[in-house]
Symmetry: C2
């Protein structure tokens, strides 16, 4: 799998991006293409013994910054690493694209250049979050602040395909994120989506388990959490905030006294595992589901390890058959089909 | 302060409710009135040596159940503990009302029987959540799934008064819960509310600090988090879920081996403090702000300790002057006043 990596995106570009991408090169059947300012890439790679001959470096002189208008940046900066990289993806010069750059700019560029799968209304972000029972796909978590019933129904399918193909869940339990379990709970959007998902489930295409509250979702009550991008983002950022807060309090707890410091030493291995559980670098990135080719957004603060994982994830998405799933099922994913049926 | 307690509401009614209410009686200047099935109350109190003569018990033969329609239950069950208790509150036979019963039924009953302060569009739930810097008021967190700009502006004021009077914050920093910091972020509701809150802040009445992401809010970035009831509830339940999940993982961590078990013993005191931090019973209940008299909702799963704290909180709200604050500032809280000004 040939993975195109945006060497210029993210807080730690290009050094950590180049380091992480080169670490993945040649492993797990991955071949890397680096896109960005060639000089900066080669100088960043010098520490790793330079860029191997087998890695293609494609020069792109411009960089899309966080302050650029996300909707138009890719057009205004035609020679940016995102624009050049996505053009290559579109033209088949690579199997997937990874960037730690601006989410908004990447989403606009992917949507307008690479395009959505025909029939998909909106692309969505679908991070995998840890739960007490393992993990769950949270879709959407920020790409679409305002959603319609059809978007949410499509997110349910997209998330379900992702859980099947990437997390090896046979019949993913799809829950609609809501503020209560009963069908009458929430706002009009939730009540109508509940009905539409129930109809979709009757066709046997989705395993819809009903509304799910955030607390139950974190207990592992479903494998796919369907949300509008606003509340999905609130959930995701609250998890991050709560983990960071409790992690900090735990650290304080171990530093309270000599006794607790000794306890900390005894706990060293267990604490490392605990930290790993909260480590956002574990998974690496978030797929933009609904785009016709694999595009992975790595966290803006990604270090080399996170980028390396995002590259493997990108290759896995490209190999998984998710996009073929979407194309094959697009008729069921149109809201009209359920209404007629 | 005379606090009327619904003895029949909640998972542990009447035993734990009666126990908690009687524990508060006579302390911190609190006098208890118990409302519910008199026989059940007296039999529950038998363990605590019976109901003291100074505690009034008011018989109410019916109980509003979770399965009753929240909007109409208080009318259909005129002799329920909620209906009888709120009638007493309205008539001045008590200074505040506490119930661990159905949130929806309590809210409908309080709104329609006790009424909102004149000019207040919607009552809101405002739990106090822990943050890395101390605590913050989250308003609304579930009463109003669908909100207008004016509701959110009023929540900002209500939360601000609560933080001033109940948490002793001099000039509470008010943040609008959003998925990014810039004024352009989020949906139309957030963009318009941002403008309205900015206008309100120019009048010097509110200390609006702008949009706040959930993660920053948990770091302590503001004292009042303004949200529609849908996303506020997602935030609240995600905090609960994440705390329970991480608490569970921590427990596993300490049970891994003999070494970690020894560490657990060394950490005993520190762990107790950590647990206390996550203990939802600490604060007790959530005020319904905007109602013309103090109504406090205790958690459905409240035990005696939570009820005791909810009673103190109810007395504190009644003494605080929050309702006078709202009445005195209601003109600024009407959206038209900002638009005209």
């Amino acid at each position: 799998m040939r993975v195109i990596v945006d060497a210029m995106g993210g807080d730690n570009a290009p050094a950590e991006i180049v380091k992480g991408a080169l670490a993945a090169h040649g492993k797990k059947n991955v071949e890397i293409v680096l896109v960005g300012r060639e000089e900066a890439i080669r100088s960043a790679a010098a520490e790793q013994g330079g860029v191997p001959d087998s890695v293609r470096v494609v020069n792109a002189a411009e960089v899309i910054e966080i302050c650029d208008d996300p909707a138009t940046a890719f057009k205004q900066k035609k020679d940016s690493s995102i624009t050049v990289g996505l053009t290559m993806l579109k033209n088949g010069e690579g199997d997937a694209f990874v960037s730690a750059g601006s989410t908004g700019a990447l989403l606009s560029a992917a949507t307008l250049m690479v395009k959505r799968v025909r029939g998909i209304r909106r692309a969505a972000l679908c991070p995998v979050i840890p739960t007490a029972a393992g993990q769950a796909v949270l879709i959407d978590c920020g790409a679409n602040a305002e959603c319609t019933v059809e978007y949410l129904v499509q997110f349910a399918y997209l998330g379900s395909f992702y859980a099947k193909r990437m997390l090896q869940v046979k019949s993913p339990r799809v829950g609609l994120l809501n503020i209560g379990a009963e069908p009458s709970k929430g706002d009009d959007l939730r009540r109508e989506t509940y009905q539409a998902l129930t109809a979709a489930a009757e066709g046997g295409e989705l395993n819809f388990v009903g509304n799910i509250e955030a607390k139950e979702a974190l207990k592992g009550g479903c494998d796919v959490i369907v949300a509008d991008g606003f509340s999905g983002n609130i959930m995701l950022k609250t998890i991050e905030g709560a983990a960071s807060f409790l992690g900090g309090e735990m650290k304080k707890m171990f530093l309270q006294s000599t006794k607790t410091k000794v306890a900390g030493l005894l706990m060293k291995d267990a604490l490392r595992q605990f930290k790993e559980l909260l480590n956002p670098d574990r998974i690496g990135g978030t797929a933009f589901l609904g785009i016709s080719r694999p595009v992975i957004k790595a966290h803006g603060s990604s270090g080399a390890a996170a980028i390396e994982n995002a590259v493997y994830q990108a290759a896995a998405v490209a190999e998984s058959g998710i996009i073929a799933d979407i194309e094959a099922n697009i008729d069921s994913m149109r809201l009209s089909s359920h209404r007629e049926g």
